[in-house]
């Protein structure tokens, strides 16, 4: 079956009726972004869907603008399928009646179907039913692909089974396996009931029955756990591989961040060790005394001088006192044994007269000035005068007379000595300040060095982040996650080993019990029943294994064909190979499609390789099923090769035409017109692209891309 024709009428950017005629093989629709490719695809989707909401949005604004009031027009899509000699046409449309420039009404959406036979006879049919008949809705999943992400058709576990059921003869073997199981279960039950009637074995039979059921239940549980762990393991491996390419960067970022943290901590410690509170130190640590030594020196000199002076005076004083004492003693010796005259004889006036006359009138001898007699008289007079002066208490005490009453000088001397002792401390202030300044400066230098290191680390960090697809936070998460996943993977592997061992042990335990039960069956139940059960068991095995073999063959062939296509699309470049793994667990088919590289799953291929893998599988399915299925369906792609480079694109288009009876592909590729060949409406590259039909869609000029009522897509057959 192919799509022969598609008419889009007044549907969004398609003003009036726009007809697309298609042929067998590859049909390529070229169109720039905004030219109407997506609307084309959506028009077909709308035709196949039962969603008829928001139809106002589907009306061509240009048509709505230009239509006359009360002049109804149709909005819809009409598709014609060619099925052998029969043409099936389905129309889906609604009618719009413009009232005023801003008002319009719409009718309900209606379907019309026409079947036209070889002889020209036409049957009008229910369009929706006809569409359902010729193009079942579930086909859409395997026939229509929007963008590259839609191409991964085997992403769900049930996808392969659905595909097989839709297109492959393998589906015929499915019901037998189920019937085989039901028949065998019936035979088991019949035997069990018969065996239970035998009283001799009843007790043991019940015990075995209980033990087997119990053990089987545990085994099933363990197997479910095991499957869960396998799945977990795959997810972890996928996650780990997914971040592997970022891991080096993530680790580097983590290392740099740790180094930056270390630098910050060191810097903080250094900053804390710097004490620049000099003002406080000036007083608290007496730094202001730094130049005190000069003052101390001056003070010391003065104290020493003062002390010298004091001692000198003291010595003089002591000498004077000594002389006086001596004189006293001499006088006493002179007049030994003679009572001296009183001091006032002769009287003061006589003495002064005699001195004035220079004659001693006592002994009547001349006494010239300076002579001994004269001096004797003068001394006597002075002694007399001295005795006439008031006498102080201390003087009266004689020995107690002191020159210096207080000992201030000694105290000053002691103070000077004490300060002198402390000068060691004062002298060290200079060194202390010097040391402190030097210490601070050294720390500052170290901080500067750390700042430089930190700047370098930050620069490295920025370079890594700049060259990475992930941001700093994501890299940090990646690092953390990766470490976590590695740990989890180790734990999961241990669990898997443990479960596998348990499963194996349980099976070993179960086997003799089943054998014993079988032996009891044989003893107590009629042979024909056990024989019947044996045959039914074998039939179940044959049905089940045949079905499994058929599925496996299909998968194997699919894998082989897919790999052939993968090579064709990726000529000259590395691809790895596709591995399609199928297994059954709990009656559920599990299909895993992986791209393999050196025997290991390549979890994260680039988009281009991923797309080519999905296309290869799709083409393989298409090729395989067209051999087996009764009907062939067109494949419709919207921009499936956005990530392909020109070489891969060329290989893809070479494959495209041969893989299916019909493909319709929308692409923005090849729309850049060549300057060398002005007559061409497409790029020179397209000249060499293999295709059966090419159509160009583009917006009719002039148009204003901000005013929808000016938009109309033209359809040009190339």
């Amino acid at each position: 079956m192919i799509i022969k024709e598609l008419i889009i009428s007044n549907y969004q950017c398609y003003y009036d009726d726009k007809k697309f005629e298609f042929t067998r093989g590859s049909n390529i629709i070229l169109g720039k972004n905004g030219g109407g490719k997506t609307k084309f695809y959506e028009a077909i989707e709308w035709l196949f869907s039962s969603n008829n909401r928001d139809i106002d949005e589907l009306i061509s604004k240009k048509k709505l603008n230009l239509a006359s009031p009360n002049d109804p027009f149709k909005v819809g899509v009409e598709i014609t399928f060619e099925q052998g000699e029969i043409l099936n046409t389905v129309k889906k449309y609604f009618t719009v009646q413009k009232k005023t420039d801003k008002n319009f009404t719409t009718t309900n959406v209606v379907y019309e179907g026409i079947r036209e036979y070889e002889n020209g006879e036409r049957d009008t049919m229910d369009g929706a039913a006809l569409l359902k008949d010729i193009f079942p809705a579930k086909n859409k999943l395997y026939c229509m692909f929007k963008g590259e992400s839609d191409l991964n058709i085997l992403k769900n576990n049930d996808a392969l089974v659905n595909l097989i059921n839709l297109y492959s003869k393998v589906k015929h073997f499915g019901p037998y396996a189920e019937k085989g199981r039901v028949f065998r279960e019936y035979a088991d039950k019949a035997i069990e009931e018969a065996a239970k009637k035998d009283k001799k074995i009843e007790k043991r039979y019940k015990e075995l029955d209980f033990e087997i059921n119990n053990l089987q239940g545990k085994l099933n549980d363990k197997q479910i756990f095991l499957q869960t762990k396998y799945k977990e393991k795959r997810t972890l491996e996928e996650n780990i591989q997914g971040v592997e390419k970022h891991l080096d960067n993530a680790e580097a970022v983590e290392t740099i961040k740790t180094r930056i943290k270390d630098i910050d901590e060191k810097k903080k410690r250094l900053e804390n060790s710097i004490d620049e509170n000099y003002t406080t130190a000036l007083f608290d640590k007496n730094w202001f005394l730094i130049y005190f030594e000069n003052i101390q020196k001056e003070f010391s000199d003065k104290v020493v001088a003062l002390s010298n002076e004091r001692r000198k005076q003291q010595r003089e004083f002591d000498r004077e006192v000594g002389i006086k004492e001596g004189e006293k003693r001499a006088t006493v010796a002179l007049f030994r044994n003679v009572v001296p005259l009183p001091n006032d004889i002769p009287s003061r006036a006589i003495m002064e007269e005699m001195l004035s006359d220079e004659i001693c009138k006592v002994c009547n001898r001349e006494a010239k000035i300076g002579s001994d007699p004269y001096n004797f008289m003068l001394q006597r007079l002075n002694e007399y005068i001295l005795t006439q002066k008031p006498v102080l208490e201390e003087e009266e005490e004689g020995d107690k007379i002191e020159l210096f009453k207080n000992n201030y000088t000694s105290r000053l001397v002691n103070l000077e000595a004490a300060i002198d002792n402390d000068l060691i401390k004062v002298r060290s202030i200079y060194q202390t300040i010097k040391d402190q300044l030097e210490f601070n400066q050294e720390r500052k230098n170290e901080i500067d060095e750390l700042d430089r290191k930190k700047d370098k680390e930050i620069e490295d960090l920025e370079n890594i982040i700049g060259s990475s697809e992930l941001g700093q936070d994501s890299l940090a998460h990646t690092f953390k996650n990766s470490k976590g996943w590695q740990r989890d993977l180790t734990a999961v592997n241990i669990k898997i080993e443990e479960y596998e061992k348990s499963v194996s042990e349980m099976r070993k335990e179960l086997s003799p019990k089943k054998d014993e039960k079988e032996a009891l069956d044989s003893k107590s139940v009629s042979t024909y029943l056990t024989q019947t059960r044996k045959i039914l068991r074998d039939i179940e095995t044959i049905f089940e294994e045949t079905k499994e073999n058929k599925y496996d063959e299909f998968v194997k062939q699919l894998q082989k064909t897919a790999n052939d296509y993968l090579k064709k699309i990726n000529v000259g470049s590395f691809t790895g190979y596709i591995e399609i793994e199928r297994r059954v667990f709990n009656k559920e088919q599990i299909v895993e499609v992986n791209l393999m590289q050196d025997g290991e799953i390549f979890y994260h291929p680039n988009t281009s390789l991923q797309t080519s893998m999905h296309l290869a599988i799709l083409f393989a399915i298409s090729e395989m099923t067209k051999i087996e299925r009764e009907e062939c369906y067109p494949l419709i792609f919207d921009a499936p090769t956005s990530s392909f480079d020109p070489i891969k694109r060329k290989h893809f288009f070479e494959v495209l035409g041969d893989c299916n009876e019909q493909t319709i592909l929308l692409t923005k590729d090849f729309t850049d017109r060549s300057e060398n060949t002005p007559g061409l409406l497409y790029s020179e590259e397209f000249v060499n692209i293999k295709r059966n039909k090419a159509i160009l869609i583009r917006l009719e000029e002039p148009f204003d891309d901000e005013i929808l009522s000016t938009i109309n897509t033209q359809v040009i057959n190339l």
């Binding site: 037998y176 019947t532 074998d538 039939i539 044959i542």
Partner: protein, 77 residues
């Protein structure tokens, strides 16, 4: 070849029939018609199941089960 015959042949190709039942190619049917004439219980049972599933009107599970058990019980005895 009719689909039912093709399916039957596929089942008949299973090694279990040779290995456990000692059947050779000559004793294995190529079609439903041939299978229905077989005296070998397992071959007859499988042929009946394929016929019941493929031929319209499709035989119900219960009827098919009864049918198969009857064949086997009869042949085995």
């Amino acid at each position: 070849m009719a689909k039912e015959d093709e399916i039957l042949k596929t089942f008949m190709a299973h090694p279990l029939l040779r290995e456990v039942y000692g059947l050779n190619e000559n004793s294995l049917p190529n079609s439903i018609e041939e299978g229905m004439k077989s005296e070998i219980p397992i071959v007859l049972a499988i042929t009946n199941i394929v016929k019941g599933v493929q031929r319209k009107p499709i035989t119900s599970d219960n009827d098919l089960q009864r049918q198969v058990l009857a064949i086997l019980n009869n042949k085995v005895q």
